[in-house]
Symmetry: C2
Subunit: 407 residues, 2 copies
């Protein structure tokens, strides 16, 4: 019986040849960073395979970051993906491809792109409503602008870290309403936000808005993102100019970027809109639906605590891109934007501990005890899948991080 090839991925594997997410890896034997493509439980050294096959994409794939491929634009993205699909599915390519496959557990994964700007949105109506009720109990849960524009703000791109990076508990100021003055110390309300991130490939010109229909020309792919949040720091600082130190200490992203093309079967219509939208945001007559049917799972130390449904997001990634540029702001290769916390209508669908515990009132039961907010040593993991063609599932690369104590 012949030895099984790593390319013989079991049917039903969410990282089969219909997926092919991109990452950047190195090995113990070779520290040089290289572009990898995930297939089943292996990583294809894409640059080496391209060189062995004499591919015209050996240059783009033989880099230490995805940025040159991102900058190459939509036609190149499609052509490279087509070539990769042939390499991992066509038996004639196996002798050239197989030597460049490495088991996943033998590689170190790195941040796959150089981040330019980072914007975080606030696009789940259920999340925004819950947060409004918790933080502003005396006012309307949603601000008057919420259903007219996708609210967002810039975050810190320099502290975006790859999945697996430890997160140091941040120190900062906090002040409970009854305290006479703020106190300083490690955050006592360290939280997560389960989000989906998008990375821009093709840049745009300063002064020229990017229209809704240009989303796929500029955005290369998506990935899971955990927007770690210190709720006590955030609550004291965020009026009037928004979140700053409550968020800027770390944002974890998956090591794997799933190209939008792999998610064609996952496109769904967003929820019905309650107010008419201004033309630059109106996607009622869009060529294809703007939502993605991603099924996210949040686990803490192995206990599943939530299943946020991305299909329930009020604002789509295409609307967010159109809004972000409507004032003429330009896009750069490597711009990342987060969807905002994904929370569905049900209690078990909430993407933050703030919501799941109602700001600490209702503890969660984990296998290793009760939790309101995160304790040192806790590991949070997000996973997700989306429907693929013909009944398959497309897996998104996990994003995980462990809390370590303040220094």
């Amino acid at each position: 019986m012949p030895q099984q090839s790593p390319l013989d991925v079991p049917e039903g594997d969410p990282f089969g040849p219909h997926n092919l997410p991109y990452g950047v890896f190195s090995t113990a034997g070779e520290e040089r960073r290289r572009i990898g493509v995930r297939i089943g439980g292996h990583v294809l050294d894409a640059g080496a395979a391209a060189a062995a096959l004499g591919s015209p994409y050996a240059g783009l794939l033989g880099q230490s970051s995805l940025n040159p491929l991102l900058a190459a634009g939509r036609t190149a993205w499609r052509d490279v993906r087509r070539a990769l699909t042939a390499w991992v599915t066509d038996p004639g390519h196996r002798p050239a491809v197989e030597p460049h496959l490495l088991p996943l557990d033998e590689v170190a994964l790195h941040l796959p792109y150089e981040v330019a700007d980072y914007v975080d949105f606030y696009a789940s109506e259920h999340h925004a409503t819950n947060v409004g009720r918790i933080f502003r109990p005396d006012g309307d849960a949603l601000t008057p602008n919420w259903k007219h524009l996708p609210i967002g703000y810039h975050g810190r791109s320099g502290t975006i870290v790859v999945s697996g990076t430890d997160v140091v508990r941040p120190c900062g100021q906090r002040k409970a309403p009854a305290d006479p003055a703020p106190v300083f110390g490690p955050s006592v309300k360290l939280d997560i936000e389960a989000e989906v991130g998008f990375v821009v490939g093709a840049p745009s010109e300063l002064g020229r808005p990017v229209a809704l229909g240009e989303f796929e020309d500029h955005v290369f792919g998506l990935f899971l993102l955990n927007d770690w949040s210190a709720r006590d720091i955030q609550a004291w600082e965020y009026v009037p100019l928004g979140p700053f130190l409550g968020k800027s200490f770390a944002t974890s992203v998956s090591a794997w970027v799933t190209p939008l093309e792999a998610l064609d079967a996952a496109r769904v219509a967003p929820p019905a809109r309650d107010f008419p939208l201004l033309p630059y945001l109106d996607d009622a007559s869009a060529d294809r639906p703007g939502g993605f049917d991603l099924h996210i799972t949040v686990s803490i130390n192995g206990t599943e605590v939530a299943r946020p449904p991305f299909a329930s997001m009020y604002w789509t990634a295409a609307q967010q891109l159109a809004h972000m540029t409507v004032n003429g702001a330009s896009l750069r290769t490597g711009d990342v934007y987060g969807s905002g916390t994904v929370s569905g209508p049900e209690t078990g669908q909430r993407g933050s501990l703030l919501e799941l515990t109602w700001n600490g009132r209702d503890a969660l039961e984990l296998a290793d005890g009760k939790r309101t907010f995160l304790e040192d040593g806790d590991t949070v993991t997000l996973t997700a899948w989306a429907p693929g063609a013909a009944g398959t599932r497309v897996g998104l690369g996990e994003v995980t991080g462990r809390i370590v104590g303040s220094r």
Copy 2:
């Protein structure tokens, strides 16, 4: 009579050898970007001069951006400045240096550093009080946190442009309180914010706060910054997550970075603090005062409209750096942060049209007519000087920009 050397800068010139700001330039004949040092009305091609003199700094100065010099750290900054000072003052160096001087009006100036993250603060008590009165007339002018921490937020680093770049009037949503729904169009309240920017040279480690006393180890220099602001877009969008599209279309910075060392004589104590500060912000026993006595002038189409005094800022740049990193957020070479609008206690010292015209109520009289907010074709210019040693003045490079109509 011998021909005068460009190095014979008239006494009293604010760009004499006591200043020596850094920039990046190119010429019509040579598009390659080069580091330049301003001396009087000339630019020294620093890399070419260093090479001609066999300087050990020819590598750092022979770059197309200041980033490698910024990353080299405080000892290198001091040594390079000492060498440059000798080159432009020691007559023995003249034959080697003079061939590398170009008249300022024969060079094109570029963004001198690659911006990593951009943070904008809100550190003038007078500005924050004025804005609070205008935007939140029914509440306290200052939020309860204002005197306990330097409020800041992240801005868009990809739209930081060099002085001289035209600014396209942004479009966006706005909604007057009486409007039933938001409308879309070019901003009708386009404004400026006269600020001072700081650029980080030496990076810091993720998870390790930068202390107040480490300011000069990390920050290379300062420059004038105009944080263009669309007040109508901002007013509608900024609750609850802060300014976004009202600011992200453009931020103009001077082409010249003044090293902190040139401003030793300009250090002044900040205003007395009204509340005790937490230890990480408490600069009462600092080795040297944290303020800078910078005298800013704001002009529109050549008419001077304000003289904001930077010495009046409540929060210092060292406090802002300590605050920005106290949660463990790391610094990267090229991080830029703005002071926030500089406004003094007097009416003529306000650094924004929002304040100068009290949100459009009181028009300014310019040589070419009345202004509340900016009109297409208007050119705004910020200049500044600071006291130098022995009665000299240190000039800051201007920052200027012209408004062009929406596309």
